[in-house]
Subunit: 367 residues, 5 copies
Amino acid sequence: MHKAPERKARRRRTAYAPKAGQAPGSIIHVGEIKVDQTSFSLFDYDAEDLREITFDTLEASRQHKREHAMIWLNVHGVHEPQVMEEIGRRFDLHPLVLEDIANTRQRPKLDEYGHYSFIVLRSFRYDQSLHDASSDQISLILGKDFVLSFQERSSGLFDPIRNRLRKRIGNLRAAGPDGLLHALIDAVVDQYFVVVEAMSDDVEDLEDKLLSGTDLHSIEEINHFKHEALEIRRAVWPLREVLNSVQRMPGGLLSSETQLYFRDVYDHTVHVIEQLDSLRELISGLLDIYLSSVSNRLNAEVRMLTVVTTVFAPATLLTGFFGMNFRYIPWLDRQDGWVLVVMMIVAAALALITALFWRRWWVRINS
Amino acid sequence: MHKAPERKARRRRTAYAPKAGQAPGSIIHVGEIKVDQTSFSLFDYDAEDLREITFDTLEASRQHKREHAMIWLNVHGVHEPQVMEEIGRRFDLHPLVLEDIANTRQRPKLDEYGHYSFIVLRSFRYDQSLHDASSDQISLILGKDFVLSFQERSSGLFDPIRNRLRKRIGNLRAAGPDGLLHALIDAVVDQYFVVVEAMSDDVEDLEDKLLSGTDLHSIEEINHFKHEALEIRRAVWPLREVLNSVQRMPGGLLSSETQLYFRDVYDHTVHVIEQLDSLRELISGLLDIYLSSVSNRLNAEVRMLTVVTTVFAPATLLTGFFGMNFRYIPWLDRQDGWVLVVMMIVAAALALITALFWRRWWVRINS
Amino acid sequence: MHKAPERKARRRRTAYAPKAGQAPGSIIHVGEIKVDQTSFSLFDYDAEDLREITFDTLEASRQHKREHAMIWLNVHGVHEPQVMEEIGRRFDLHPLVLEDIANTRQRPKLDEYGHYSFIVLRSFRYDQSLHDASSDQISLILGKDFVLSFQERSSGLFDPIRNRLRKRIGNLRAAGPDGLLHALIDAVVDQYFVVVEAMSDDVEDLEDKLLSGTDLHSIEEINHFKHEALEIRRAVWPLREVLNSVQRMPGGLLSSETQLYFRDVYDHTVHVIEQLDSLRELISGLLDIYLSSVSNRLNAEVRMLTVVTTVFAPATLLTGFFGMNFRYIPWLDRQDGWVLVVMMIVAAALALITALFWRRWWVRINS
Amino acid sequence: MHKAPERKARRRRTAYAPKAGQAPGSIIHVGEIKVDQTSFSLFDYDAEDLREITFDTLEASRQHKREHAMIWLNVHGVHEPQVMEEIGRRFDLHPLVLEDIANTRQRPKLDEYGHYSFIVLRSFRYDQSLHDASSDQISLILGKDFVLSFQERSSGLFDPIRNRLRKRIGNLRAAGPDGLLHALIDAVVDQYFVVVEAMSDDVEDLEDKLLSGTDLHSIEEINHFKHEALEIRRAVWPLREVLNSVQRMPGGLLSSETQLYFRDVYDHTVHVIEQLDSLRELISGLLDIYLSSVSNRLNAEVRMLTVVTTVFAPATLLTGFFGMNFRYIPWLDRQDGWVLVVMMIVAAALALITALFWRRWWVRINS
Amino acid sequence: MHKAPERKARRRRTAYAPKAGQAPGSIIHVGEIKVDQTSFSLFDYDAEDLREITFDTLEASRQHKREHAMIWLNVHGVHEPQVMEEIGRRFDLHPLVLEDIANTRQRPKLDEYGHYSFIVLRSFRYDQSLHDASSDQISLILGKDFVLSFQERSSGLFDPIRNRLRKRIGNLRAAGPDGLLHALIDAVVDQYFVVVEAMSDDVEDLEDKLLSGTDLHSIEEINHFKHEALEIRRAVWPLREVLNSVQRMPGGLLSSETQLYFRDVYDHTVHVIEQLDSLRELISGLLDIYLSSVSNRLNAEVRMLTVVTTVFAPATLLTGFFGMNFRYIPWLDRQDGWVLVVMMIVAAALALITALFWRRWWVRINS
Ligand SMILES: [Mg+2]
Ligand SMILES: [Mg+2]
Ligand SMILES: [Mg+2]
Ligand SMILES: [Mg+2]
Ligand SMILES: [Mg+2]
Ligand SMILES: [Mg+2]
Ligand SMILES: [Mg+2]
Ligand SMILES: [Mg+2]
Ligand SMILES: [Mg+2]
Ligand SMILES: [Mg+2]
Ligand SMILES: [Mg+2]
Ligand SMILES: [Mg+2]
Ligand SMILES: [Mg+2]
Ligand SMILES: [Mg+2]
Ligand SMILES: [Mg+2]
Ligand SMILES: [Mg+2]
Ligand SMILES: [Mg+2]
Ligand SMILES: [Mg+2]
Ligand SMILES: [Mg+2]
Ligand SMILES: [Mg+2]
Ligand SMILES: [Mg+2]
Ligand SMILES: [Mg+2]
Ligand SMILES: [Mg+2]
Ligand SMILES: [Mg+2]
Ligand SMILES: [Mg+2]
Ligand SMILES: [Mg+2]
Ligand SMILES: [Mg+2]
Ligand SMILES: [Mg+2]
Ligand SMILES: [Mg+2]
Ligand SMILES: [Mg+2]
Ligand SMILES: [Mg+2]
């Protein structure tokens, strides 16, 4: 299960070099490009009606006229500056917001601008075969009558929400932009639990593996899990503060009912942080197991050596003794002298092995 | 005492997968189902009278009409959505509250809703034979004239409180809903001390065991205790904050006398946290003992090897010497030559063993 | 100096089990009973006069009528519920206060009740021969015209204060209840310095011992000191907060002059915390010394083995060589052949020993 | 790749000795002198026009008369007291400010003086061949109509900003002194990402190296990276607080639009701190890899020794056996006796090697 | 360089025992007495004139009449209660202040009393030959028109300040008591940098030493530096808070210009804390180097043993082989048989040594 090399095919980290010295607000994509082409999905709806439209190009989207009270525009792919700029113009977004959407290595945050709020969070997926967690940036903008969501690629995370809108499940359609915002964030947070549980399973598998034998790559695997867990923690920890701030967001963007729901997703975030801490503790226990397994193996090696040395030592003594050239040594003249020697060698070996295995007194006395 | 495998029969952690993407407020049971059937116990009482009723079904409960100023409804088993929903309707509870009661992996918290407060805490039991602490979620709702308590299964924790109500011990009957709430929380916190004391005993047993010998499973046992102690800490630590908030709970739900009692149970919680920290320190000491025991054993092994090697070395030299084919070697012609050699071997061995045991100067000089 | 077993004769920790589920305010003694019988000492005094009375029974005390402005009642032994209850009635104390006095495992705290304040702190004594610090609970109650002090047993800590009252040393008699309260707390805190200094001496003795040789019990001793230092810290740390709160205690119980004195004892507490941290750092250094001493000993062992193996290796080669049955081997026919062999063996051994001791180049090249 | 010695050519740290006891405000250069001569670059501009002038001497600069609304004076080299003093006089700077500019070991800070604000931050460069990060102090002064910047030497960091001014890229010319200040700070922070990414690459190279073999210098290299990462962190961590304060800077020095931009660069700073923490975690993982690589190598050494000892042990036994001088030993008279012995030796050696390699049961049984 | 024993001649720590139970405000000297006799130096000055007087006795001082606006009295030696008391009477100081001056183990603090402020800080000196930092307590009192300074002994730290007063360097004479207070504190803080730099040099020397070889005393030296660095940190860390409070000191004792200077010395304190943290990190790196050096030495030892064992193993086999008593063994009859054997022994040894040195494949395969 040496997946380490595959995992390691990481790009050289030169992502930030082109941004150095640039004017702030320059829309420069940072991060991996995860889809070839930007695509758009638009929900134009109110409590009564809903129109769902998808575009592949900006031109197509320009045809659209808003029909209902509320719009949700979801964008897959954030690497095209012209797209970002046009959306920025239409919804009157600050250049710094557009820059942050395109730079997909943001940490979670909430930035309030006069007529809208900008929220960044990160979604995770876990590759069970590579034991690798990877994250996408999800940028959300909450306006008075619209919600914009930007993702690096399609993740399926928002499909249940689309269904709830289409099939009028719950009262999501009537819940307004803040209700939709909550639904989107909640979907991302729910996924954290799934990822953490899957990783925990893999860590426990590794624990079992370590208890039955280790090699130098075990430490790599432990380090990898430590790294992944920290990466998730770094995405979840600031989200906690973001959700705390969202609840206290001024300007009438949030209804008091929705505040209760944000308190709930805040709760989940705190909970997932605890589960991550539990996971990290599990991983740090792995290191103890690994190190003590290496020490125990050394002990076993040395004991093996001691046994071999000890078992053959009397043989060497006895054969040496009867190999001496003295004129007279007892038994030399007996026909069965050699049989006696063999018996003595075997007896001495057995006695010493027995002694070695029961010499706990020795360890006690000496330690 | 290799209980580890038994302990390890843990469910794969896929509990949260079905919740991902669901609308918040969906009542989906998360966690182990610990009783087959939901059952209800109702105390309908005031300072003067008390009526105690138990139901097994919702239908039975619908017959009941409240007779006195105060109601305490206790529910065992929280996995049936219809039950949760009906209780929610009767006491006008928010869907998020019902969802949290059914999801039995909450961390302790206090959520205030207009006319009631919702409190989650966790009770612990300790299995002395498996050295395993496990927790149940206890959900409490405090209203103006009612208290609801939800448990995953019957624990006996609340039996002394039922007795105090039945037999009018103390003034619990007159203490109102806030007094009852305190009694329930106090009973849970009292149990923590018992669990921590039992675990501390087991940890000290393990310490004694480690001092007389270890194997690779020792590290598993140490890790297990570390894990259990952390699990308890995670349940107690947020409870501290909850109890702090309960004292400052607005809205007249708490009398000033009861506030003193909540300060008292807050004190206990802080105290149990300290005892847990003491326990965790004890456990981290175990690791040092274990590691140093492994090192000492290696030292003893190597010393054994050195002794064997050293004792037989002069024998090899001497027998080799008199086995050489020189025309003349002294003593070869003596009848008792071989006896002299045996004596020299024995003398050299004794001298070397003595030297090895008293060669502390050697260690000093070289280290 | 294997005091560990003696130290270990600790009671099974089942102290809290009887309290579980009991009504709060139940006076149940928790902890060791340290005196057979409760005894009382009463100082009834003002700036001018002082009357000192001691009782052995409650009945005797009932005879007493207060004569002066100020009363100090000190109680040794807190395990008798009836005594606690009667004192509670006379001074109008809350049942939770009485419960806390009888439960001698409180952490330091300040609880304010309308007409009095309740302070818990812990005094320490250090047994130099067992290297064991143990603590007693001291409960203090400050009223408008009285101070109550409860101790588990007589410690002599308050004797200097009694003398200052009797002999009018300083202006303690005129300082009122708050001045007396300060004197009592100051006496307890002064003792901390003495205990920490004595422990520091013992830890330095252990450091010297470790540098000249270790066994597996060394780790036990290190763990013991770590444990004791933590126990003291746990008593002092919350006291710091208590003294901070005492200074800001409302209700006119504290004069502004006494506030200065409480700032002073607060200072001492912070100072003793620092000395404890210094001690704990010293102890954690012991572990490093211990572990590196074990490693160094192993190195010395292996070097010993290498020396023995190396010294005898050429002898084995040479005697083997001249023991071969070839028709012709040089020197075999010389009368002094065996002398040449002995000389070669000695020369090779000396050469190798010299090489081993000066082979630092080897270690360098290989490490 | 033993660069350690080169890196180590650090000056003895006696930099601060001359400052001890001096009056505050004494302009004494502390740190390495990095350019021979002070040089000046002046931008005298407004939204319309721009004049760029460079001087090599103070005298030259005295000729200059301000022509436009805004001045940016950049100084390379801060070790000449007379230069500092003259600049101080012209812009009415406090002696403590001049002292801090000349003492190039400041930590980042913001000091507000009535009519100007003084900001210190540190720029980093990374030498890829020595794996060495080194920092320069950058001192910035923001006035109502001027910005002063002081650097130890030319770094090229501000060249893109000069271009944006010259070529009117963005609206930097119109952005006023606060806009220019932001641009300067942003350029420095952008560079942090580049440095951290380069170091991360080198750390991953070292990780690969450690996995294929180590020596004692590996620990030096690990320590070096740990040290460098901490050094960067120490420069970035206080900058975070500085930028937080800059946003709340009173006195109308900052426009509300520029505040958004400072929030953005604050974000970047928080982000780079996280990447540094990630890097430090990577480095601490290196130590685990290194230590476990040393342990594994020891295991391999001992196994080698065991194999050699074990393989030759039966040979010694067998040749000794047939070397005994008994009158009768089987096979001695057979012409092919010696062939049988060789076959037995080879067979025993093969059997033992096989056993050693498959004796996992042994390790299991013994550990 | 085994200075450890010298360093260790520390007094038994019984300093606090005499204070236990004493009334607060008792002037009992705690700490080492560092000068035999108390001496006084008085500066009586204003911006125009200055009179400098030194006394050796209290009586001499009683002659003095104040002539100018401002007095600075410096006292060397604080162990004489009568001296402390007389000074206390003259300047109307609180007994707790006098007690703290005489107890020379205070931590830095600021205590405000109505008409004066009391400041404690600690000065450090570093003994380069013993690698030992030691501290003196410096107590400062700032009044409206006087400054008092108390030191355990003369340190020379304040000599530059005396010169600045005598020679009117800077405007110290006109700066008032707050200006003088700043100068005194600044002189102490400047010294910290010098001490930390000297210690850092010594720690780097030790690092070099560790890389070329270690013994068990190395760990003592590492622990010593750890201890000293922590001791300095404990003196500097609270000073930071003190200086922060001094800036906000009410009551007109501080001019706004002097506040800027205190902000400056606060800066220095923060900076020295960072350098100490850097030093502590360096020291903790030493432990890693030490431990890995011990492990590497063990590896080298075992490799040595393996080489010896391996090189002689074929010799034993071959000489044993040709020493067997078979009727026929090849080569036995050849005149040069023994030469062939010697050649085989040498060839086998060379082959095995070569194999051992290039057997990296073995380590790889096995680890
Ligand atoms: Mg930029
Ligand atoms: Mg990943
Ligand atoms: Mg959710
Ligand atoms: Mg798996
Ligand atoms: Mg990764
Ligand atoms: Mg919830
Ligand atoms: Mg959901
Ligand atoms: Mg459990
Ligand atoms: Mg309780
Ligand atoms: Mg047990
Ligand atoms: Mg578990
Ligand atoms: Mg209590
Ligand atoms: Mg109770
Ligand atoms: Mg104790
Ligand atoms: Mg005191
Ligand atoms: Mg002692
Ligand atoms: Mg103990
Ligand atoms: Mg004091
Ligand atoms: Mg100075
Ligand atoms: Mg550097
Ligand atoms: Mg930037
Ligand atoms: Mg590189
Ligand atoms: Mg460096
Ligand atoms: Mg940004
Ligand atoms: Mg080892
Ligand atoms: Mg005292
Ligand atoms: Mg010192
Ligand atoms: Mg200074
Ligand atoms: Mg030196
Ligand atoms: Mg010291
Ligand atoms: Mg400065």
